[in-house]
């Protein structure tokens, strides 16, 4: 593997890792604060893509389309939180996974009813088309750099939100002792809605940004959701730092195993077998640590 190729794959890995981070943050924050496991998180990823397609067609502007699609995702998330998630907070994990699994089935079918069974495609915005020569022999798509940048910016904003604002302090306090937070007169219901909407918006954002790279179709959020759960198992549940580390580890490991494994094993690029590598990594990390790498120190 030549150095430019190595660098290209590293960038691809970081890009995938940051998308997984955006997904994992939602799952891990919602778990950290509300103690709920949300299997419908993949649906928010999928809906983000669909919303963007429709919003772009309606507004004709990339920026307006993005804002509109994000707003739509947040509305859906708030409605979901109020109708379905709230009654689930007091329930055990089994009820939670079944109900949110039911939501996934619903959304996977809903998009077929609204947008049809044919996969949709998103075009890369014109101003992000083309390649940029990073090094001699390494020209890299501008779009991938851009979405990695947006994801890093979103992560930085999230860091500021959690560590430097009152809402962030409440989120951190809520993940330690939510009863005390509620007892101190904080509107805990509003906080829950906020955290859920934040997570859903980040998932939808990841879905929008990867829209031009993958196809947007019914069930397209499901494999991403499962990969996100791997990220969380590796990083440690409830930890934002773990979500970042886990996302990058999984993103980079997955990207390189897809390039290297076929060469090493002389495979004819059996996509199934290379998809398995990341789960072997998860197994190895589970042997090393039962709770993931960053579980002990949440935040």
């Amino acid at each position: 593997m030549s150095f430019p190729l190595f660098l290209e794959q590293l960038f691809n890995g970081i890009q995938l890792g940051m998308m997984l981070f955006l997904m994992a943050v939602g799952v891990t924050l919602v778990f950290g604060v509300m103690r709920i496991i949300n299997l419908a998180h993949g649906s928010m990823f999928m809906l983000g893509g669909y919303f963007l397609v429709t919003a772009l067609a309606a507004t004709g502007s990339t920026l307006l389309g993005l804002v509109l699609a994000l707003a739509l995702s947040i509305v859906v998330a708030v409605v979901l939180e109020i109708i379905v998630l709230r009654p689930l907070y007091a329930r055990g994990p089994l009820d939670q996974v079944l109900a949110t699994f039911g939501l996934t089935l619903f959304f996977n079918e809903l998009v077929v009813v609204i947008w049809g069974r044919e996969p949709l495609s998103l075009d890369i915005p014109e101003f992000l088309e083309g390649h940029v020569e990073l090094l001699p022999g390494l020209s890299y798509p501008v779009y991938r750099l851009a979405i990695t940048g947006v994801a890093i910016a979103a992560g930085a904003l999230l860091y500021l939100l959690i560590n430097r604002t009152r809402i962030g302090a409440l989120i951190r306090a809520g993940s330690e002792k939510r009863e005390i937070v509620a007892a101190l007169g904080v509107n805990i219901g509003l906080l829950y809605t906020l955290v859920f909407a934040l997570g859903a918006a980040l998932a939808a954002l990841a879905g929008m940004m990867t829209g031009p790279l993958l196809s947007i179709e019914s069930g397209s959020g499901d494999p991403i959701l499962i990969l996100t759960l791997v990220v969380i198992v590796i990083g440690g549940i409830g930890s934002v730092r773990g979500a970042l580390a886990g996302g990058l580890i999984v993103g980079i490991f997955d990207t390189f195993s897809r390039v290297l494994l076929p060469q090493l094993l002389g495979l004819t690029a059996g996509s199934g077998l290379t998809s398995m590598a990341v789960y072997v990594l998860m197994a190895a990390i589970l042997v090393y640590s039962r709770t993931g790498l960053f579980a002990a120190n949440r935040g």
Binding site: V84, A99, F106, V230, G272, S275, L286, V287
Partner: protein
């Protein structure tokens, strides 16, 4: 005879009478129920008695189906060899997956079983010689050298007999000392460990046994559908098996078989009505969870023992399930 036994006998009589309807469609439908019921029972063994919420049982179901299909394709065609072998292969997979997954508990266990199932799913996809993503067709097994399983009625009775045997064996297991330890681990792992029973070993044994049952169901499925594909191992399938257990009520062994019947009849009715039946089934699953708090079984218990205030059969509160505190 207890009420439960009377109920069981009545159901058995109904099940045995299905082929008398004379329509192959009903016989095949009942066969499907019995097979999914067996797979759902394997989930209940873990869920209802071990308190282990596995979201990956479809992988073991699929491994059994693949093992049966591959053996048959390789020329080993007799059910007496193929089916036990399929169950054994699934048990080996369950042993490995369980050994790793059971290091975790609560929410993490759900995620890890889901992840390993997805890994097995990708493994199935990568089997190019066996159709990859599209799967492959399987010829029906012979029974002791006789090609009788092609007959839908004969196959149905064989499946039904195996289901009854599995229910019997599983109820012997859960009522044995082993089952007592398993339930003890479900209720309080620390106390169990303190009196000298390492919960991990017992849970792993249960996970392996349940894997074998799912694998047997998978082998039957390969015969029933004459077809095996990675879809059998998808996460939706794992979710559906869990839903069947919950529809029927967990911790009863026979409940999940009901659950499978309810689920499949319901799915069939909805899909007759609209091709978008999942649009209705998803919300129904949500409603079922939100409205019926401790399951149909709990509802029955409350109705029949009003005033006695019995403990709910299972305690699913997040606190006892451990989680990652």
């Amino acid at each position: 005879m207890s009420r439960r036994a009377v109920l069981f006998a009545a159901l058995l009589a109904i099940a045995a009478a299905v082929p008398a309807l004379g329509d192959v469609y009903y016989t095949r439908f009942a066969t499907q129920i019995a097979i999914y019921g067996m797979a759902a029972l394997s989930v209940d063994l873990l869920l209802g008695y071990g308190g282990l919420i596995t979201f990956g049982q479809a992988a073991l179901f699929g491994v059994g189906a693949y093992a049966a299909g591959m053996l048959t394709a390789a020329g080993v065609t007799d059910a007496l060899i193929v089916w036990p072998a399929a169950a054994l292969v699934a048990m080996v997979f369950a042993l490995v997956i369980g050994a790793l997954a059971l290091r975790t508990s609560g929410f993490q266990f759900i995620m890890v079983t889901l992840a390993f199932a997805q890994m097995v799913y990708y493994g199935g996809q990568s089997l190019r010689a066996y159709g990859g993503d599209n799967g492959f067709t399987v010829t029906r097994n012979t029974l002791a050298g006789a090609a009788v399983l092609g007959d839908h009625v004969v196959f149905y009775y064989v499946v039904l007999a195996l289901l009854i045997a599995v229910v019997f064996v599983a109820s012997r297991i859960v009522n044995s000392q082993f089952g007592l330890v398993l339930r003890g681990g479900r209720d309080n792992e620390r106390r169990l460990a303190a009196i000298g029973f390492p919960p991990y070993r017992y849970k792993l044994a249960a996970f392996t046994i349940a894997g074998g049952i799912a694998g047997l169901a998978g082998a039957l499925m390969a015969n029933h559908a004459s077809f095996v594909s990675p879809a059998l191992m998808s996460w939706q399938m794992s979710g559906e098996l869990l839903a069947m257990v919950i529809l029927g009520s967990a911790g009863t062994l026979i409940g999940p078989v009901f659950g499978a019947a309810i689920y499949l009849v319901f799915a069939q009715m909805l899909s007759d009505y609209t091709e978008h039946w999942m649009l209705f089934f998803g919300p129904l699953l949500v409603l079922r969870v939100l409205l019926v708090k401790d399951g149909l079984w709990g509802l029955l218990v409350r109705l029949t023992r009003a005033g006695e205030a019995p403990a709910p059969p299972l305690d699913w509160s997040a606190e006892t399930a451990g989680g990652a505190e």
